[in-house]
C-alpha cells in the first residue's frame, strides 16, 4: 500500500478545505470501500481526511414531515430507526439486502452512495480500465459482463479502446431506494453549501467514465434528506442476486406507489441508479395490471443493449428487470394487480 498522511480535522468545514487544496486527498468515512481500494491499489491518495466523526450521526425529523439522515449515521442505525422502518420501508429493505451486519455497522449514509463499482476489472490494477486509469480502455467489453450495464450504454460491444467506454454498474442498493424516494443530498463544498436531488447525484459515463457523480473534488456530503411520502404511500425493494445473502444485485427494483403516482428505480442496470421515467409516465393514473406493468417496462427497456461476454453475457437482465418490477408492484398493490 502506498504511504499516506492521515488527518482528522476539527470540523467538516476544515476537512473540506484540506481536501479542496490537495488533489491527492480523499475523505474517509466507514472505510469499508476505501480501505479495500487502498489495499488493491485502486485508490492511491497522498492524504486521507477522516470525516466519520465530523458530520452528524443523528437521524432527525424535518419540519416538512421528512427525515434527515446525518452523513455519519451507519447503515445499521438507519435500518434500526423506527421512523425509517415505518415510513420508508423501501430504504430499510434496500439497506438490509446489502452487505452484512458487520459491514452495515461501519458503512455510512455519506459513504454508501459513493462506493465505487464492483466491476472486476476496475478492482484489478493489472487490467485496462477507463474508470481507474482514464484513457486506458475498457477490459469489460466482451469479458465478464454479468454484473454490467444494459442501459445508458451506446451499443452492444462498445469500442473497448475508446476512452469514453465504460459499461460498469453502480453497486449501491441504498442509492436505488434513495432515487425512488426523491431524496435530497446536502453538500458542503469549498464554495459553500448546495443541495443536489439524489437522482442527479450519479452520472452516466459520458466522456468521463472516471467520474461517478457530479460532486466536485472537496465536496462533502453532510446529510441525506428524505421528503415525506403522501399518506397511504407504499414502498418496497426487491433484489435479485446470485446468492440469497451477501451478494451484489444482478437486478434490483425500488418502487413507491402513492395514490396515482408510481415511482420505479432500477439497480444493476446502468452506471447510475436508473429511474424508469418512461414506465412511470405510462403507469401513472392507470390500473397497475400485470400486463400494463410489463408493457411499460418493455417500453422503458427498448433502448437496452445486452452486453455479450463470458458465461453468456448479460442479456438476461432485460426480461429479469421486467419480471422483477412486475413482482414488486404486484406485492405493493396486492389486490389491484390480479
Amino acid at each position: 500500500m502506498k504511504p499516506f498522511a492521515y488527518t482528522r480535522p476539527g470540523s467538516a468545514a476544515e476537512a473540506v478545505r484540506e481536501v479542496a487544496v490537495e488533489p491527492g486527498a480523499v475523505f474517509l468515512a466507514g472505510g469499508t470501500n476505501l480501505v479495500d481500494h487502498l489495499k488493491l491499489g485502486v485508490a492511491r491518495p497522498d492524504l486521507v481526511v477522516d470525516v466519520r466523526t465530523l458530520t452528524s450521526r443523528e437521524i432527525t425529523d424535518l419540519p416538512d414531515g421528512g427525515l434527515r439522515l446525518g452523513a455519519a449515521s451507519t447503515n445499521s442505525e438507519v435500518t434500526a430507526d423506527r421512523r425509517v422502518r415505518e415510513r420508508y420501508p423501501v430504504l430499510a429493505q434496500a439497506l438490509l439486502a446489502g452487505a452484512t451486519g458487520q459491514l452495515r455497522n461501519a458503512a455510512t449514509t455519506g459513504g454508501n452512495p459513493l462506493q465505487r463499482t464492483r466491476c472486476v476489472y476496475f478492482q484489478d490494477v493489472t487490467t485496462r480500465c477507463n474508470k481507474r486509469e482514464p484513457g486506458s480502455g475498457c477490459s469489460a467489453v466482451g469479458g465478464y459482463t454479468r454484473y454490467h450495464a444494459v442501459l445508458g450504454v451506446g451499443s452492444a460491444m462498445p469500442d473497448p479502446t475508446a476512452p469514453e467506454t465504460c459499461i460498469a454498474t453502480h453497486p449501491s442498493d441504498m442509492a436505488v431506494a434513495l432515487t425512488a424516494l426523491d431524496a435530497q443530498v446536502q453538500v458542503l463544498g469549498p464554495a459553500g453549501e448546495r443541495t443536489i436531488p439524489f437522482g442527479e447525484l450519479h452520472r452516466l459515463p459520458g466522456d468521463h467514465p472516471s467520474r461517478d457523480t457530479v460532486l466536485e473534488h472537496g465536496e462533502l456530503i453532510t446529510a441525506v434528506d428524505l421528503p415525506p411520502l403522501p399518506s397511504g404511500a407504499r414502498s418496497a425493494y426487491r433484489k435479485v442476486r446470485d446468492r440469497a445473502s451477501y451478494a451484489f444485485a444482478l437486478v434490483s427494483v425500488a418502487a413507491v406507489v402513492a395514490g396515482e403516482d408510481v415511482r420505479i428505480a432500477l439497480g444493476g442496470m446502468a452506471h447510475r441508479p436508473w429511474r424508469a421515467t418512461r414506465a412511470e409516465a405510462l403507469l401513472t393514473g392507470g390500473p397497475l395490471t400485470e400486463h400494463a406493468v410489463a408493457h411499460a417496462m418493455e417500453v422503458e427497456l427498448t433502448a437496452a443493449q445486452p452486453q455479450p461476454g463470458l458465461e453468456g453475457g448479460n442479456g438476461f437482465k432485460i426480461p429479469l428487470a421486467t419480471r422483477t418490477v412486475v413482482a414488486t408492484l404486484r406485492d405493493l398493490t396486492a389486490e389491484a394487480l390480479r
Binding site: 434500526a80 422502518r85 451486519g101 451477501y246
Partner: protein
Amino acid sequence: MDAEISLTVDGVPRRLTVDTRTTLLDLLRERLGNTSPKKGCDHGQCGACTVLLDGERALSCLALAVAHDGAEVTTADGLATEGELHPVQQAFLDRDAFQCGYCTPGQICSAVGLLREVDRGWPSHASADLTADPQLTAAEVAERMSGNLCRCAAYAHIVPAVQQAGGVQP
C-alpha cells in the same frame, strides 16, 4: 507515516505508534500478538477478522487503526471473564459448531454482536415484518450470520449454537 493512538484491547489499555496504513487486524495480530481474529480474505468478504468495536461487530481488516484512536476492541480472546466462557463460546462447544476452527473466533464475535442487535429489535433481510420484534429463527440466524463464511461448512451446527446462546431452543 506514523501516528500515535490509544486503544483498549480486551480490557487492557494500549498506547502505540502505528504506520497510518495499519489495519486493526494487523495491529492486533502482528503488534499485539492477539491471533484470535483471523486474516481470511483481507477484503471484507469472509468475516474471519470480526471483532467487537465499541461493542458492535465489525471487520477489523477494513478498519484503519488510526481511524479508531480511543476505541474499545474486544476479540474472541477477551470474551471469557475470570475463567468462565462467554455463553456464545459455551454454546459453540455444546453444539460442536466448528471443525478446523479457523473461522470460529470471527463467528463467535459476530454472534455476540448479533444477539445484542436482536435484543434491540434490529430487523434483518429475513424479517417478514420490519417493525415486529425479531425472533431468533434458523432463517434469521442464517441471514444475520451470512457475513461469516465457514470453509468447513459447519453451518448446520453454528445456527443452533447461536440460537442456544440467544436462549431459544433450536
